[in-house]
Symmetry: D2
Subunit: 182 residues, 4 copies
């Protein structure tokens, strides 16, 4: 049975909506954790400035060394939750592309992981960013393609073409299929 589902997609691509739908349609109780959980847990000083996370005027996100250090511990902790028996949906933005994926892959070693790419056309994601009303403009467009470059998935969904619930059902079917064949 799948123990961890990693959703990777750009800002406003619809990851957290899929995550909530997965919690509703998957059998059993799953935790939904993600980069937003981590950022909320960071000190305010790391949400800006050179050592934490910063937002360039065009929406690009820049991450500093102290952010990276806490993130590494966070990833180790989420992996430990899965090893302790929790099933976890991780909602991530691989700003570093394959390097980001490698950090998670190493930490999740030995666990059954489903890697899911959450695609959304840049223009559609940019529109949703405006519709949310509380996001820094430009992040959606800036990340739409870049976070997927070089990343390897078991499955991809596209929220420009399907509702979050539909995407969740596709992912849940794959989880069920894996449960039978393993």
């Amino acid at each position: 049975m799948t123990q961890v589902i990693v959703l990777n997609g750009g800002s406003s691509s619809g990851k957290s909506g899929i995550s909530r739908c997965l919690q509703a349609v998957l059998p059993g109780a799953w935790l939904a954790l993600g980069v937003d959980t981590l950022v909320d847990a960071m000190p305010a000083s790391l949400r800006e400035g050179d050592t934490g996370i910063g937002f360039a005027p065009d929406g690009e996100v820049v991450v500093g060394p102290e952010f990276r250090a806490l993130e590494a511990a966070w990833i180790a902790g989420v992996a430990a939750m899965a090893r302790a028996g929790a099933r976890v949906v991780v909602d991530e933005v691989f700003l570093g592309g394959p390097d980001s994926q490698e950090r998670w892959r190493a930490a999740l070693e030995g666990l059954r992981v489903l890697w899911v790419g959450v695609r959304c056309e840049a223009g559609v994601a940019a529109g949703r960013e405006v519709a949310r009303g509380d996001r820094i403009g430009g992040m959606a467009a800036s990340q739409a393609e870049s976070v997927h470059r070089g990343v390897v998935y078991d499955l991809e969904v596209d929220t420009s073409r399907a509702e979050a619930m539909t995407c969740a059902r596709i992912i849940a079917e794959r989880v069920a299929a894996q449960a039978w064949t393993v």
Copy 2:
């Protein structure tokens, strides 16, 4: 020139997303106000119980007399804002159908109003309700059809078939066309 745009639609139909997009694409500065603003301004005691707003187990919303009294004053105040020169997008749920519309129509007398129906298929809205993760289950499905019954619109959009930004552009075009012809 249009002074007030009233968006009416069920819970999770996407009204507030359209409202935010309208603020971005319409010329000039528009205020975005709605029933959520009003509910947030109510005393906690009116958000439950017999005299305020209540939620039945199936997601149906029940509104009591004290809620109605504050709502009437709220509507009068929003109309006064438009008369004082603000352009306003109102994001509403006409639980009472044509009676609700009549309350707004009477208060907005003499103002140039665009009435917009925000449709969303019940199943799609119910899925989005799950995706949001913080809504009372059942409201979306319960309201999807009922809030439109007997209500008259200048324009209707359907968020099951178009993004919030696309719906906003359609509405903005109508606003621009009215500005020319009046």
Copy 3:
């Protein structure tokens, strides 16, 4: 009977807590509205930039002409709500001191208004700003004194020395006393 209570105080002085407590202890149902409601209703473009609201690096708030225009209509609308029968607690930050008060006084002409100063020592407010974790640093200290300069009150409370609920009870007693003597 008092129809409008205007609470004026700096950021993190505890106005909104007093407002919520007033809704709980005052007889009847009161609406709680304030500058945060207005800012949330503004277009995203006005929450930054030269024509809207801006935050200087030291936490000072700068307000532009388009913000002022929408604010004037907002104030007129809140006054209209009170004239239409709603009792309203207004939670404000008089960045312009007596000029800000004059704008409200003119709009509330003919209504029975209680003007309340919400004081909080700068150091205490700055600490609470940190404790909230989501505020721009420096606003609390920058506003603690300046928003009261030249403003005239019926009553003042100090949240450095009393809990929000205690302050609310003091205000409610004054409202009750006015109800008897008028």
Copy 4:
């Protein structure tokens, strides 16, 4: 050097404010995690009903077996974050008193932990619960004493008598003192 600070206190006792202040005054970057983070990560279905978390009409919180299972994995994961090098402030409500503490103590075995009791008089906490405006009434009073019964602390603070920032400085001094003596 202290690796984990566990803050235990009832609802509305001011734990999260102290946690944010600790992040600001402690040397280095600390993660702030707590029971609210866990509850947000749970499926909506576990936030109500027999197997998750429930709220009795008097504000008492009832926790079911599926909640407990995810919580156990969560605690193991937070401990793993600390072992991986993150310093963590944990913001907790020991509904089970000493049993709750024992669950954390076992998981944190081998780590340097500072146990802090966050006291707040029941009446004061109940007032703050009203002031927050979004809490279920009765939780603050119901938990004010019960969560401390049988729990052993290195240090206690009382937010009825001191601001969050003052409490944070007291805790930070103890952390600094321990750094010297160990």
